[in-house]
């Protein structure tokens, strides 16, 4: 077990390094010079040169990359070009806001998905099965940014129950004052995991229910509930993997929903960074979100192998 965790841990290191390299080079795909974002176009040459030296842009790319990684390891992601503040402090609150949103959304998605998926799988071709098929179809088909607009119209414009954008300005706490801003974005974001998890759980449960061991359990006269416990135990590792990764996808993909609701999270910040051509901020956000995703992947794999020892046999997929 320890060996497996160690192997998996070591395997994440090259992945994390490659991710950082791609994140770093992404910016050099850009046609615009990052300096043009801060210096006026008619700035004298020596000012542009001194700005380049100040941001380290006058050095060759590989050197820039290694310096960037070395500083990132020490928690220094550079200084935002637009605001002049350290990237890490810009990231702090917005990261917390996005994590909150992603956790609530995946909690809704995973619980609703497990419920609908298992009911749909257990009672095939019934009304509840149709509902679960419908929910999973809507979940994967609806453009969630559009659903966000629909919910805004319904709950903010017509009913006036919930605020349509922003977050509470008072210091963070878990009360209704803060939560009410989160309800609509979290609900919007949760349709994706709800759809995917309903579909996954339903297909596992309906496959499992015709397996011999379930027939044997039924033959022994066990109650429906006990049989379901056996099925659930077998379905758990897959649900865990799909659900765990969804949290990461939601965090990385929250930009659309955060833009709709002006939710001050990483997606919103990313949007600002892109349009202001704030390269250090852009790199910082993408790197942090990807590293969280890599760690989440690692965590899910280890947890999965704890539940199901068969998973431990190989680090490689083949």
């Amino acid at each position: 077990m320890f060996l497996y965790v160690l192997k998996r841990l070591i395997y994440s290191i090259p992945i994390a390094l490659s991710v950082s390299a791609i994140t770093f080079s992404l910016v050099y795909l850009a046609s615009g010079d990052p300096i043009s974002a801060i210096a006026p176009s008619d700035a004298p040459e020596e000012i542009i040169q001194s700005l380049k030296t100040q941001y380290g842009l006058d050095q060759p790319l590989p050197i820039q990359y290694f310096k960037w990684v070395a500083r990132a390891v020490h928690g220094d992601l550079g200084v935002s070009i637009a605001s002049g503040r350290p990237v890490l402090s810009e990231l702090g609150t917005s990261l917390r806001n996005t994590v909150c949103l992603a956790l609530i959304a995946s909690f809704i998605g995973i619980s609703l998905g497990c419920l609908l998926g298992s009911l749909g799988g257990l009672y095939q071709d019934t009304f509840i099965d149709k509902i679960s098929t419908f929910v999973s179809l809507i979940g994967v088909s609806i453009p969630h940014y559009w659903l966000g607009l629909l919910l805004t119209i319904l709950f903010s414009v017509w009913l006036g129950w919930l605020p349509s954008m922003g977050a509470s300005s008072s210091p963070f706490a878990f009360d209704f004052e803060h939560l009410k801003f989160m309800i609509l974005p979290a609900l919007t974001l949760s349709v994706i995991p709800t759809g995917i998890i309903t579909r996954t759980v339903k297909s596992i449960v309906s496959e499992m229910i015709s397996k011999e061991f379930v027939v044997a359990l039924q033959a022994r006269g066990l109650s429906q509930f006990t049989i379901f416990k056996h099925i659930a135990k077998n379905a758990l590792p897959t649900v865990l993997a799909v659900g765990g990764l969804q949290i990461g996808y939601l965090m990385g993909g929250s930009i659309l929903v955060e833009t709709v609701f002006s939710w001050p999270g990483t997606g919103y910040l990313l949007n600002i960074a892109i349009f202001q051509r704030d390269i250090p901020l852009l790199q910082g956000i993408v790197l942090v979100l990807c590293l969280i995703f890599v760690i989440l992947n690692l965590f899910v794999d280890v947890l999965q192998s704890l539940i199901d020892p068969r998973m431990r046999r190989g680090v490689n997929h083949d």
Binding site: P14, V19, L137, G253, L282, L289
Partner: protein, 282 residues
């Protein structure tokens, strides 16, 4: 020799008995054809607006679905808008299918170090959540349709490579492939005759399930201002430019999203029908 109906004939016979396949396929055909032949069926200009006719509600005389924030006819723009939105849904997936299945076939068939090299490279792209990858690529490249198409293609290639590689690896270990190898068949003809027909099913179904994802994501990029530039009609961009009207004209402002939703649900329904007809276990 008895002529057996081919596998694909079998699949299409099964599909033709499915009502949902007819419904979603029919809907898609109507949307596709009307977008494609828009200049023939419409005499109105999607770019021409009238400032006096701004934000007319749905069912105004002369404008069936109203007018947008610049007084342009909504129905015309929605029909024309399908061109780019559907292109954003289909082109990256088809491109990724061609490139990804080639890479996946090579990785799966060669095995060993080549497989390791290709698949570990794909793992790196897997370490990016897909929306984040698309947003950061098109954010770095800047707005424009070519950049959006490129960003989406890069997002889908690793996913198709994975599906293709795992099916190829399974097929490669089967006896008939070894038999073909022993009989001296060339690598290319083994792949063409023995491997490819056996893996195309699962890869195809997986690919069809990506159309809706690609369209939602592509329109999403335009919605963020990272895709198509105004005044081009595109559903995601229209949703964005109509956002200020959300409070005053909600019925009008949500229309472009409805078109994305209907198209994407049709893509998904048709993909599910293919899945059932081809009897592929996910």
């Amino acid at each position: 020799m008895i002529e057996h109906p081919s596998y694909w004939t079998h699949v299409f016979t099964k599909l033709s008995k499915n009502k949902i396949a007819w419904l979603s396929g029919g809907l898609l055909t109507v949307i596709l054809l009307s977008a494609f032949f828009a200049p023939l069926i419409l005499s109105t200009d999607p770019y021409r607006g009238a400032m006096l006719n701004r934000l007319n509600p749905v069912l105004t005389s002369g404008h069936l679905l109203g007018t947008d924030e610049l007084g342009r006819d909504m129905l015309t723009r929605l029909i024309y808008g399908g061109r780019i939105s559907i292109l954003l849904g289909m082109a990256p997936v088809i491109l990724a299918f061609i490139i990804g299945s080639c890479i996946g076939l090579i990785a799966g068939f060669m095995g060993g170090k080549i497989n390791m090299l290709i698949m570990r490279t794909m793992d790196v792209f897997y370490a990016f959540p897909s929306v984040l990858l698309a947003v950061s690529i098109s954010g770095a490249l800047g707005p424009g349709i070519v950049n959006s198409l490129l960003a989406l293609t890069i997002v889908f290639i690793p996913q198709i490579v994975r599906v293709c590689e795992s099916s190829t690896t399974q097929v490669r270990q089967l006896d008939f492939v070894s038999a073909a190898k022993m009989s001296g068949a060339s690598t290319f003809s083994i792949i063409r005759v023995h491997v490819f027909p056996n893996i195309i099913g699962p890869v195809f179904v997986y690919t069809t399930s990506l159309f809706s994802v690609s369209m939602i994501l592509g329109s999403g990029l335009s919605f963020l201002g990272l895709g198509i530039k105004p005044p081009e009609p595109e559903w995601g961009l229209m949703l964005n430019t109509l956002r200020p009207a959300l409070y005053t004209h909600p019925g009008l402002a949500v229309l472009p999203g409805l078109f994305i939703f209907i198209t994407s649900i049709s893509f998904n329904l048709l993909s599910d029908c293919f899945n059932t007809a081809m009897d592929i276990k996910k």
